[in-house]
């Protein structure tokens, strides 16, 4: 690990200002950052410890939603009684990720900002456009079993590894951000993440000195919530495909429809055209087939991950059947 200076932030303002320095990096839980620092994939000059900032509360908002502090651990969030009762898809997604030890350390903001587990990104002996812009991508025709089939570019086909963010996407979450100038803004989670294009090293719309202070959830809906994760082993593995669904029914037709996906794309994926296709129609096998076809119309496999197209198709249909109570 490269030597670094360490500073404990005394306030969100001070943290955001300190992060303007070149080579500075926030550290919260550190479960992903320290791993990458040991591999020298990340080599910060200075760590700004934000783990003790007073951002550990889960609070009700004025409109009946929830404000989840950036430093709330994944364990605390999954076990929060309000999350379990009103946003079960979020508890389920959190509990499907990592291990008990990691969830105790990993934070809400850190989970959103965790880096891809692409083996080429994690290996400094390999070229990687995300780690070293312009150096190339060996995943395109290399070992790409875990890689993306949607939203990719010729520069990068790495997936975003979070389960939590997939559920938050289906819950229409937004991210509260404080700038180094002390201003607070809120960004929809869907707009928080950037697609790789030809700048795969740019993963979010955050600016230098921006600090994520909270995730906001809108008031809960009376809807069925499902999280299904498909992976190579039953526990403690990243998703090959995951689907989060928040679906309500009204007089026999799908009403509110929000469906998001993990393991398929460089960001938690949501396709409004799929949702529009489903909304207002009675559940049926044919409808779900059409929705899955629509989701995957532009999907592209790279060899090792071709199977994800069929797997995503089946998983989406299974989740839609479960969420709507369709038995056949």
């Amino acid at each position: 690990m490269k030597p670094f200076d360490y500073e404990r932030a005394v306030s969100s303002n001070a943290a955001a200002r300190a992060a303007l320095a070149s080579g500075a990096h926030f550290i919260a839980g550190g479960t992903n950052l320290l791993d990458l620092m040991k591999l020298e994939v990340l080599r910060p000059d200075k760590l700004i410890d934000i783990s003790r900032l007073p951002l550990r509360q889960v609070e009700r908002t004025g409109d009946g939603g929830l404000r989840i502090g950036a430093m709330v651990t994944n364990s605390d969030l999954a076990a929060d009684p309000r999350v379990r009762r009103h946003y079960p898809v979020l508890s389920r997604a959190l509990l499907a990720g990592a291990s008990g030890q990691l969830r105790n350390k990993a934070t809400t903001a850190g989970n959103l900002l965790q880096r891809t587990r692409c083996p080429y990104f994690q290996d400094t002996a390999m070229p990687c456009n995300k780690r070293e812009p312009g150096s190339g991508c060996h995943a395109l025709d290399g070992f790409n079993r875990n890689h993306a089939i949607l939203g990719t570019s010729e520069s990068c086909i790495a997936t975003h590894p979070s389960d939590m963010a997939v559920a938050m996407m289906a819950l229409d979450a937004s991210v509260e951000i404080q700038s180094a100038a002390g201003k607070t803004r809120t960004v929809a989670l869907d707009e928080f993440y950037a697609l790789p294009g030809d700048t795969p090293h740019v993963e979010t719309t955050l600016d230098s000195g921006d600090l994520v202070t909270a995730v906001l959830l809108p008031p809960p809906l009376a809807a069925r919530q499902v999280y299904r994760k498909v992976r190579d082993r039953a526990s403690y593995a990243f998703a090959l495909v995951s689907v989060a669904a928040v679906i309500s029914m009204n007089e026999g037709v799908l009403d509110h429809v929000a469906v998001s996906f993990g393991g398929l794309a460089p960001k938690p994926w949501r396709d409004r055209k799929v949702e529009a296709l489903l909304s207002g129609k009675p559940p049926s096998g044919a409808l779900f087939q059409e929705a899955a076809d629509r989701l995957l119309a532009e999907a592209r496999g790279y060899g090792g991950n071709d199977f994800k197209i069929a797997l995503a198709h089946r998983t989406l249909r299974a989740v839609l059947r479960q969420a709507t109570g369709l038995t056949q």
């Binding site: 320290l34 076990a79 030890q101 990691l102 105790n104 039953a234």
Partner: protein, 172 residues
Amino acid sequence: MTKIQTGLRINGADHRLEADPRTTLLDALRHHLHLTGSKKGCDHGQCGACTVLVNGRRINACLALACMHDGDEITTIEGIGSDESRSALQEAFLACDGFQCGYCTPGQICSATAMLREAADGWPSHVSPDLNGPVTLNAREIAERMSGNICRCSAYSGIVDAIGQVAKGGVK
């Protein structure tokens, strides 16, 4: 780089550490404070051999910087039991053959100690049928909740039996 002063309360005793900020909690325990019960397996948070309790919660000590834990209460395997006074889980691991080489065992026992508390607090797991229901620590629940601890000798059936025994009311 400047060395950093850190105060840690480990197994009830206060310790001072002056170390490079890169020092992980695991290296601080093993190399600086000579508490070698916590083991280094993968050093990347994948195997669980380094599991310790920080303020009662289990974490991977290899993925924690010691300087970030200034003032925290740490419990290692040395604080859970000794040859003269073993914890219920340690007795159960012996009774159920919950190990072969023993390298992962301190991490398994620290992890299980905290896991039993999580279950008692009603925390659900990935395999819990009801997020809001009572927790029943059957073999499936124990395996899921312990998936962050890997045993290269594959003593899993003994480990699950040992934890299950303690969950049901302890070993005599």
